[in-house]
């Protein structure tokens, strides 16, 4: 009996959805819209509205619309339509005790809500399921769904869920016998409704509060809330409220009042096809009549109750519900397993992605390291090659610097020589005239002395005096000769000096340098041989060799001047080899024992070569003579510098040669010498 009471109460909790009042005009309008609707989704929504509107007045028709809406939504795969239809239809199914179909639709709708992320609908579906399982006395499942609905409300903050959540929670706990807890939830639900002024829902909640008070044996409070529920004039609820009143009166043993309200409850529930209320009311009437010993009436109502109860809980329906529940558990297990597998897959994927990412990062790091290394290696190579280049350039720069220094020294020397040349030329001009007088007067004096001697001869003078006079005249003559000799020597120096400054009157002409060199070489050699009248040991004796470049082109030079240079160089070379031949000890710093040997072994030699180098013609005069010290070498091109004994050289030969080659012909005259081994003079003349 208690079970039936609970079922009865449960079915009435869902009257939330029956809030809309029956409205014939609305139904006609909706039917009209349905016939005109072009889109199936619109049709689904209209059918759902019709389901709701017919729910209280004609549950059979309402379920027809609900099933039609579900079928159409399934056909067109309109998930939301299915969910709405399920919520509307299921409430009626719970009222009409069609639990199997209700459970089937609710589970499918729940699956859709989960899949399509419809949290509000999911919350409501969970509440419906909690109601269904409460009805089935499966409180564990009921509480699970209740908890899921709470989670949805709490996590997503959906205020619309507050009222149904409180209402359902109250119902579940009431059915579980936890009346105080249930009363708290119902009162919360009542508070949720006050601002909304929803008469039907207030009526329902008032009824629940009344029935909870009744369960707590608080008769007055129960009657007060039942009457409050009736004051909202919700006809649909009247059946259960009447039943509640009948139950309260029965408990207070007011049998006639109880029968009165029980009959009203039976009538109203039959009208609204509320089978549980019909069953409960019939049973109550049977009990009441039994108490009043009206057994006939009692039997009558017992039959009604039994008949209705069979339709409410036949075995097939119970099996169907259990099968569906089992299927749902299985489905949830599958979902859970899938979720676990999915989680495992996800974890595996995360691991794979993590490892892959790590691998990529490692590869990237390796790549960058490799790249950096390569860049560094390349940079090092560049640096190395740059260093080499710098070293090369430095070596070149150092060489260039040395060359520059040498050139600078040569230039300074040239400048010195040039200024010295100009100075000496000036001096020479000035000295020339007085020197001419010296020479002329000395010559004249020699003649006059001779004339004086001749005149004295004519005069008679004592012999003794005459000898003395002759002696004086002899000395005078000798002195005049000395003056004249040194004057002429000075004069020849001045001549040499003047040759420096004398502008050349010769014309440049294409000259065969090989022929010119050979001519002057022979001239020098034979000239020196002819001039040298000394004894056999010191007599000039030397050999010479030539190696002329046969392909030497003719070049434009002043032949007389180049000839003068060549003659100077050859004379010097022959002089040097001759000096070494005559005096090897002094030359070579040899010991006296070795002197003879060296003298016989030494072979004086002049080697003259010509060669074309680039745009230059090179004439080399090489001797194996005495050579010269570095000190001597530094001075040889200075005017008046000579190593020859006084009177043998003016010291102007090489100075003059230097001027002719450099100033006169734009060439160079260089010297290389090793003391004791020989000297090489190198003339370089530009050929273009």
């Amino acid at each position: 009996m208690k079970k039936y009471i609970c079922l009865f109460l449960f079915t009435f909790t869902a009257n939330v959805l029956f809030a809309q009042s029956f409205n014939a005009a609305s139904i006609d309008s909706l039917k009209n819209e349905l016939s005109k609707a072009k889109h199936d989704t619109t049709k689904v929504l209209i059918l759902d509205k019709l389901t709701t509107l017919f729910a209280s007045s004609n549950p059979t028709q309402a379920l027809r619309y609900g099933r039609e809406a579900w079928a159409l939504a399934s056909k067109i795969k309109y998930d939301k339509g299915k969910v709405l239809s399920a919520l509307s239809s299921c409430q009626i199914m719970l009222n009409t005790s069609d639990y199997a179909e209700a459970l089937n639709k609710l589970l499918e709708a729940r699956y859709i809500c989960e899949k399509s992320k419809m949290p509000k609908e999911l919350g409501n579906i969970n509440l419906k399921l909690a109601l269904l399982y409460t009805n089935r006395k499966q409180f564990k499942s009921a509480l699970e769904y209740l908890s899921k609905a709470h989670q949805v409300r709490d996590s997503l903050q959906i205020p619309d869920l507050d009222y149904p959540l409180n209402q359902t929670s109250g119902y579940v706990y009431k059915d579980m016998g936890e009346f105080q807890k249930a009363l708290g939830f119902f009162k919360n639900a009542y508070q949720n409704l006050i601002t909304k002024k929803a008469a039907h829902q207030l009526s329902t909640t008032s009824y629940y509060i009344g029935s909870t008070f009744a369960a707590l044996n608080q008769r007055d409070s129960a009657l007060a809330y039942f009457r409050k529920s009736l004051s909202f004039q919700a006809k649909f609820h009247e059946g259960r409220v009447y039943y509640g009143l009948a139950s309260v009166f029965k408990a207070s043993n007011q049998l006639d009042s109880a029968i009165f309200y029980a009959k009203k409850a039976l009538t109203r529930s039959n009208e609204n096809q509320f089978i549980p209320i019909t069953v409960f009311s019939a049973q109550l009437l049977s009990e009441l009549y039994e108490k009043k010993n009206d057994l006939k009436s009692a039997l009558f109502y017992t039959k009604i109750a039994t008949a209705e109860k069979d339709s409410l809980f036949n075995e097939e329906q119970i099996r169907q519900i259990e099968r569906l529940a089992y299927d749902e558990k299985e489905r949830e297990l599958i979902i859970q397993r899938r979720s676990e597998v999915h989680q495992a897959d996800l974890e595996d994927k995360i691991k794979i992605y993590g490892i892959s990412t790590l691998l990529i990062i490692v590869l990237l790091v390796l790549f960058f390291l490799y790249r950096n290394n390569k860049i560094k290696h390349k940079a090092n190579q560049i640096l190395h090659s740059q260093k080499e280049e710098i070293d090369t350039q430095r070596a070149k720069a150092e060489k260039a610097f040395q060359d520059l220094k040498a050139t600078q020294a040569q230039l300074i020397q040239s400048e010195k020589l040039a200024s010295l040349g100009e100075l000496t030329a000036g001096i020479a001009h000035e000295i020339q005239n007085p020197l001419n007088f010296v020479n002329n007067f000395s010559e004249l004096s020699i003649d006059l002395t001779q004339e004086l001697k001749e005149e004295i001869e004519k005069v008679s003078i004592p012999e003794k005096d005459k000898e003395y006079i002759d002696e004086i005249i002899g000395d005078l003559t000798q002195n005049q000769q000395k003056i004249n000799q040194h004057g002429k020597r000075a004069s020849s120096i001045v001549k040499g000096m003047l040759q420096h400054s004398r502008s050349s009157s010769g014309e440049k002409e294409l000259t065969d340098m090989n022929a010119l060199t050979d001519e002057y070489l022979r001239l020098s050699y034979h000239g020196l041989r002819a001039k040298d009248k000394s004894g056999s040991t010191s007599r000039f004796n030397a050999d010479f060799r030539t190696d002329f470049d046969e392909n030497l082109p003719k070049i434009a030079v002043i032949p007389q001047e180049i000839g003068r240079v060549l003659l100077n160089l050859f004379n010097n070379a022959f002089y040097a080899v001759n000096q070494r031949r005559i005096d090897p000890v002094e030359t070579l710093h040899a010991t006296s024992e070795a002197t003879q040997s060296l003298q016989t072994q030494y072979h004086p030699m002049i080697f003259v070569t010509s060669k074309k180098i680039g745009n230059t013609i090179e004439i080399k005069v090489q001797d194996n003579g005495t050579g010269m010290s570095e000190e001597t070498k530094a001075k040889i091109f200075q005017p008046f510098f000579t190593t020859k004994p006084t009177g043998e050289g003016t010291g102007l030969g090489l100075s003059l040669s230097y001027d002719i080659i450099t100033k006169g012909h734009g060439g160079t005259l260089e010297v290389e010498s090793i003391e004791g081994e020989g000297t090489t003079f190198i003339i370089k003349l530009p050929y273009i």
Partner: protein, 124 residues
């Protein structure tokens, strides 16, 4: 024939007088001396140019020998007088210039008096 020696060196007079003492005594040479170009031109004003032989140095303060030559030859481009120039050693430029201006002959210092005597004798 008068031989006019033009030279700024005073000792030239002494040298010539001593060197040609015999010729002067014999009346073979008659020397006159001028210390500059200007003096020479002044001297020549009163002279019969045909009876004068000029022996002039080139480098002199004031009027140079070349200028003297130019002025004399500007008046009588061909001859007389006979003009011999004395050039310094190596002064090829003056040598060429003198000949171009109409000098009859030239001598190079230091003077070779034997050569000079021969030239004077042949010119007189």
């Amino acid at each position: 024939m008068k031989i006019l020696v033009v030279d700024d060196e005073e000792d030239v007079r002494t040298l010539f007088q001593q060197r040609f003492r015999r010729e002067i005594r014999a009346g073979e040479f008659d020397f006159a001396f001028s210390g500059s170009g200007e003096e020479a031109l002044e001297f020549l004003k009163d002279q019969d140019l045909e009876a004068v032989l000029i022996l002039s140095d080139i480098n002199m303060p004031g009027m140079s020998g070349i200028e003297l030559l130019r002025q004399i030859r500007s008046k009588s481009p061909t001859s007389p007088p006979t003009i011999m120039m004395i050039t310094a050693y190596g002064d090829a430029q003056s040598h060429d210039q003198a000949l171009a201006l109409g000098a009859n002959d030239f001598l190079t210092k230091p003077l070779d008096f034997i050569e000079l005597k021969q030239k004077l004798q042949s010119s007189l």
